[in-house]
Amino acid sequence: MPTLDVPEERLRKFKYRGKDASMRRQQRMAVSLELRKARKDEQTLKRRNIINSCPYPPSEKPAKGMPGSLTLGEIIKGVNSSDPALCFQATQAARKMLSRERNPPLKLVVEAGLIPRLVEFLKSSLYPCLQFEAAWALTNIASGTSEQTRAVVEGGAIRPLVELLSSSSVTVCEQAVWALGNIAGDGPEFRDIVISSNAIPHLLALISSTTPITFLRNITWTLSNLCRNKNPYPCEKAVKQMLPVLFYLLQHQDSEILSDTCWALSYLTDGSNERISQVVNTGVLPRLVELMTSSELSVLTPSLRTVGNIVTGTDQQTQMAIDAGMLKVLPQLLRHARPAIQKEAAWALSNVAAGPRQHIQQLIAHDILPPLVALLKNGEFKVQKEAVWTVANFTTGANLDQLIQLVHSGVLEPLVNLLTVPDVKIVLIILDVFAYILQAAEKLSEKENLCLLIEELGGIDRIEALQLHENHQIGQTALNIIEKHFGEEEDEGIILLDQLLDQDNEFIRITKN
């Protein structure tokens, strides 16, 4: 699942140009585990058709109370009949059963062994209505658990479904697109079977300027499922085939199409720099950045994520995103009403801040520090976390002037406040940021002022208290900061008693606590 709510996702891909060895090390500790409830993906993985209006002309519409209410036994009997009409009736009944809004009996239908027959029906090109009903029923089965999807695949449905993509009946064709989307959405294994069954060229062939919008939405969604999932990623050839079409779809005005196209791109950019490169080279960036200003959350979210993925890439790729204007858009996203957007935006920003000094400079030039500080102050914790990472990356990569600007932006106050947050990693990062900024201030002979500022904000009390933290690394870092920078207040440079009395330099600590 490509959601960024999985923090390690970010960690793994995190660019880190920091100088501090300890911070870099933490980056490598990628955790592939979650304690959290798995987040519902913003994009639907599989979809079930619950539209009960039949696309057929009224004449073909079955009479009320007739086949729709067959029992499972009757259905089994029906599909196994050699009479196409009976088969149709039974299949339609099965489809209706499976389209029930509440607890459709997927399991029962699979266990009843209907799938092989349904797959058979897909091939009965003489009876497009039957093909349609079978495809629909299979679509709904494939929307179930992985096990149920597997039953569809193992029932041999993929190949006939791909063949249906060339069906002359638009409705059959559309239903096949849908079914394949559900199968591909299950995971990399089935996705790759769909791909290797040569589905992509057929799918692409369906797209033209005259494709009806609802159909086009379906195709786009299925394409996005063909881009989805990693371990492994879809093969390069498949990606190459799809990219030009995705670029084309990205110019569309329909928000559903845009949303699914952006999701597709977000999956493709969620990987190595080479993968990012493939996408970026199609020239999608300007349009993506434009979509980041969309008022539709469903478009904004995946476009932002895609751009966020891209800036995890090389400095050059990041530069391209900046050139496309991402930094112009980020401030308003950092101020977005939704915490989830703030968080994604801050995440993207953290990776720009991890870049070279020119990037940091541009970040300053676009006036991004004020909204960043506002998030540090008032954001939800998950947003604050991303903002802290941004500051940490900024700090380790910045030159002295840039650090000064950072401090002047008022970043220290919220950082001090966050020192009491119950998250050891964040506390440590903040301590490292303080150590880093203090060291820089020392070079500028500004340390005294900075120390006073930190003290005013209540920072010394908090850092002192952290010396006793049960986490050894936090305790030690806090102790080092206190000893090195706050050893003793004094105006006239008096006292470095602990240095002087090396043999018992414990006392300062003891008397202070």
Partner: protein, 971 residues
């Protein structure tokens, strides 16, 4: 070792002996046990004893011995033998949980500790059954057993609260959650039900509440790293019950003890922590529960008494409110005027009151009181929590809150006015309230730096603070006196000078107060006022303004040191130091008395130095006396030597380690004050300073180096003529220092002084050896710090002895060495040199190498000429290279060791910055230009061609700038 009765008997005997008060019996027994603990079955014998021994003492003793054995031996250290055989390990793990749960509490505790030690190593992989075993016990219904399990679980899981996220950690937590979360939840529900069933049974309730506390702690640990799916799904169960428990009270659980928190308090405190955890980290999911918790916690605060036992609960609860009220999306929970009034009135004001416990501390434990009150070590106190809440509320509601409190302050002051001797505490609370309301930001150095503009601080000062301090009786209402003085202290930057100056004689007067807190605060306030800066960075108060009070000030300060409890009061001593520093010459008339008093103090405290800060300020005061007096009259130095040397000798003879570094610094100062040659009294000391034992203590090194530098500066000729045999000893010190990564810069300070001051012929024979030592160190462990010092040294050498001499000494050690040093060290590393004097030394030294060293012009070294010039221009123009190689990050590097002895611990013994190049060269860039010009006249045509062929364009441009500035050209 078999599991036999005989062995059990022997073990019992030895265990008994380990309890014997007589070391002659105890020690051998302990030795014996240690000698046999490596045998198989030893731990099982202990477990058998602690279970089955008839003697209770032996049972306990066996359990303690067992725990210590586990602590020492369980962990398998890589490359070391496994100290417990596998069979024993398996047997221990198979039995210990059961044993622990069936043992009486005393033994249970030891075994529980042992389980957590084992768990830390083996859980979960190597102890897969532990969780199931524990969870199964939840079914037992026996809360003695259940609490044992919970306690063990707590000791195993509490590390989740402070360890960094890692794959390993999260795998473990996941495992624990899968096995433990549901049973824990069920237990939680069941326990709460039992609480209502047994609502009238005190002893049952106590056990059940202990369980609830442990369950709540486990909740915290399991929810710390992230919000687990299970707890998100079951949030309602937990939060509803937590909420109910917060509001619950039961007479049977109330304790009579005023100090010790009872079970109810502990439980509610933990629930506040749990709620705070969710509010801070999982706000999105917790949002809908939060308002209820705010109300419950606030009601809790309103109904909780003043007793000390509630302190933790109250401060946790207030901190919860404080953290919530400053978050924008919860602002609405507080903005109602009635809510605000109620919080101010019922939560904040009562918790700011001066309580009996505070009064006790004020009188009987004043040091602790001062530390808490002045230095902010009051983090967990109610007052502090209440202050934090005021600050939190002021973020959004400064106006209304100030308004509400103003009313309160007034009414409390009125109460006080009605009957001061009874109602003085009302005034204390009023002052405290004003202080916490007005102070938005504070530092030790400046007091309050940002104040609430809605509070008129000066008016309050004039109307309510000054009158108290003006009262004739300094011992009346000591708490209010202390409050008033503290008010001056912290608002010193807000109250105008004309009002502050009025308070100075009052403060001086209060130095005589009997209360330790009062006279300490008076001293501290004076010290802070005297440190304040006015325009132009001069002190705010001039010596002239304080002049009328000099005598009484000095008298009262020293008298305060004789008050009971204040004989080594660091605040008073610091005030003495600061007064000297401010008053300067004005103290000279009193200097004889002052130095006598200080010397007496010195002698007295040197018997048993225990207050490092006091001692430090005392030495600073001594240094100040010397400087101030000798500046006016250098000859007076003799008087100081007379007064001090006796005490110093005693300190040195008795080896008072804490003071020796100070003594050396004061002596350095005295020695430097002598204008002429070094007095013989010092020369007599010289050989002693070279004794290795003195240098063993790292604390002595900076001061000793400083003193030796003073000797070299003042007495190099005397040393060369009368103590030439000591030069090897001096170099021995250098050799020792240079060998240490921590102290090598000190070695260079010494070496630089030797090179600079000693007559060349006196060190001639040692020079080559010195360089060899430096090279050895370079080879063995090259650090950035060493390189920096080394560069300064060779350039100083070059200045002092000439460029040719430097080249010759290098090449004398090994042919072509000079070129190597240039190429591998000077050219690439010169950019790292820091410090103005240091850079100047290097610039002048390199200029000499470029222009006064013939081999640079016409040997194979010539190819290095332009690169060297380029690097010199880099030194002038490029930013300092402060990168440090990765591997050096963890070496304890002193900040920026320079040519100067930068440590300067005693500020007032500090030496002036010394520039050995000083007069010779003012502007090193001009000097370079002139020198190049001179060189070019000696060999016309060569210099311009060398410069133009390979110097890069930017450097060339800079160089042309220098030449222009010096109005010279290259021929």
């Amino acid at each position: 070792m078999e599991l036999s009765d005989a062995n059990l008997q022997t073990l019992t005997e030895y265990l008994k002996k380990t309890l014997d008060p007589d070391p002659a019996i105890r020690r051998p027994a302990e030795k014996f046990l240690e000698s046999v603990e490596g045998n198989q079955n030893y731990p099982l014998l202990l477990l058998t004893l602690l279970e089955k021994s008839q003697d209770n003492v032996i049972k306990v003793c066996a359990s303690v011995t067992f725990k210590n054995y586990i602590k020492r031996n369980w962990r398998i250290v890589e490359d070391e033998p496994n100290k417990i055989c596998e069979a024993d390990r398996v047997a221990i793990k198979a039995n210990i949980v059961h044993l622990m749960l069936s043992s009486p509490e005393q033994i249970q505790k030891q075994l529980s500790d042992a389980i957590s030690i084992i768990g830390r190593e083996d859980f979960p992989q190597k102890w897969p059954d532990l969780l199931t075993e524990m969870v199964n016990r939840f079914q037992s219904g026996d809360f003695h057993v259940i609490n044992g399990v919970l306690r063990t679980a707590h000791s195993l899981f509490k590390r989740y609260r402070h360890e960094f996220k890692s794959n390993e950690l999260w795998t473990e937590i996941k495992l624990v959650l899968d096995a433990f979360a549901l049973p824990l939840t069920n237990l939680f529900k069941a326990t709460i039900e039992l609480c209502s069933t047994h609502a009238n049974d005190a002893s049952a309730l106590r056990i059940l509440f202990s369980s609830l506390i442990l369950i709540s702690k486990l909740f915290y640990s399991l929810n710390f790293q992230d919000l687990p799916e299970f707890f998100e799904d079951n949030m309602e169960t937990w939060m509803d019950n937590f909420h109910t428990l917060l509001t619950l009270d039961n007479k049977l659980l109330q304790t009579d003890d005023e100090e010790e928190a009872g079970l109810l308090e502990l439980l509610k405190s933990q629930i506040c922590d749990n709620a705070a955890l969710y509010a801070q980290k999982y706000d999105e999911e917790f949002q809908r529960y939060l308002p209820r918790f705010v109300t419950a916690i606030w009601n809790l605060l309103v109904t909780t008494g003043q007793e000390v036992k509630y302190d933790l609960l109250v401060s946790n609860a207030i901190q919860f409110l404080a953290s919530v009220c400053e978050r924008p999306h919860y602002k609405n929970l507080f903005e109602d005027q009635n809510t605000l009034t109620s919080i101010c009135e019922k939560v904040i004001v009562p918790n700011m009151e001066f309580r009996a416990a505070d009064e006790e501390a004020f009188e009987d434990n004043s040091e602790e009181y001062i530390r808490r009150d002045l230095e902010g070590s009051d983090i967990d106190t109610r007052r502090r929590a209440a202050c934090d809440l005021v600050r939190g509320l002021c973020k959004f509601f400064e106006g209304p809150v100030t308004g509400i409190f103003s009313g309160y302050v007034n009414s409390m002051l009125q109460e006080y006015a009605k009957n001061p001797s009874v109602n003085w505490k009302h005034k204390d609370a009023a002052i405290y309230l004003v202080t916490s309301l007005a102070s938005k930001a504070q530092t030790q150095k400046h007091g309050i730096t940002q104040a609430n503009e809605l509070v008129n601080l000066t008016e309050f000062f004039v109307n309510h603070i000054l009158p108290d301090l003006k009262s004739a009786n300094v011992n009346e209402f000591p708490v209010l006196k202390a409050d008033g003085i503290k008010y001056i202290m912290i608002f010193r930057n807000q109250v105008p000078k004309e009002h502050l100056i009025v308070s100075i004689p009052l403060l001086i007067n209060h130095l005589q107060a009997e209360s330790i807190v009062v006279h300490t605060y008076a001293a501290h306030a004076l010290e802070r006022l005297f440190t304040m800066r006015g325009p132009n960075n001069a002190t705010l108060f001039t010596a002239a303004e304080i002049a009328p009070f000099v005598e009484i000030l000095l008298t009262n300060l020293f008298k305060a040191l004789t008050l009971p409890g204040s004989s080594e009061n660091e605040y008073i001593m610091k005030a003495i130091m600061r007064s000297f520093s401010l008053l300067q010459e004005a103290i000279i008339p009193y200097i004889a008395t002052l130095i006598t008093q200080l010397t007496q103090k010195l002698l007295a405290v040197s018997k048993n130095p225990s207050k490092p800060h006091f001692n430090h300020y005392m030495f600073e005061a001594i240094c100040l006396s010397i400087r101030i007096t000798c500046k006016a009259n250098p000859a007076a130095v003799v008087n100081f030597e007379e007064a001090l040397f006796l005490a110093f000798t005693e300190i040195l003879q008795n080896d008072v380690q804490e003071f020796i570094p100070y003594v050396f610094q004061v002596m350095s100062l005295l020695l430097e004050t002598h204008k002429n040659d070094i007095p013989s009294s010092y020369m007599a000391l010289f050989p002693h300073l070279l004794q290795p034992v003195l240098w063993e203590r790292t604390g002595n090194i900076p001061a000793l180096v400083r003193l030796l530098q003073a000797f070299l500066e003042r007495g190099s000729n005397t040393i060369a003529s009368a103590a030439a045999d000591k030069i090897p000893g001096l170099l021995g010190v250098f050799q020792k220092l240079i060998a240490s990564k921590a102290n090598d810069h000190q070695g260079f300070y010494l070496l630089n002084s030797i090179i600079e001051h000693m007559p060349p012929e006196s060190v001639d024979q040692y020079r080559k050896q010195i360089f060899i030592l430096l090279f050895q160190r370079l080879q063995n462990s090259k650090t950035t710090k060493f390189i920096k010092s080394f560069l300064v040294f060779i350039n100083l050498y070059c200045i002092k002895y000439g460029a040719l001499a430097l080249q010759e000494i290098f090449d004398g050690i090994q042919p072509k060495m000079f070129g190597m040093v240039l190429e591998k060290i000077i050219i690439p590393e010169i950019q790292k040199v820091s410090g103005n004097v240091e850079k100047k030394i290097c610039a002048v030294g390199i200029t000499k190498l470029l222009t006064e060293c013939p081999p640079m012009m016409d040997t194979e070294y010539t190819k290095l000429w332009t690169p060297l010039l380029q690097s010199l221009i880099g030194l002038f123009e490029l930013p300092e290279d402060d990168t440090i190689p990765d591997e050096e990050h963890f070496i304890d590097i002193e900040d920026t060791p320079g040519y100067q002895t930068a440590f300067s611990q005693l500020a007032f013994a500090g030496k002036k910055e010394h520039d050995p190049v000083g007069q010779m060269v003012n502007n090193p860039k001009i000097h370079l230009a002139q020198s190049l010009h001179k060189l070019s006249t000696a060999c016309p045509g060569r210099v311009p061609s060398m410069v133009s062929t390979s110097l890069n364009a930017e450097a060339l441009q800079y160089l042309q700038g220098y030449l222009q500035a010096a109005s010279v050209t290259l021929l």
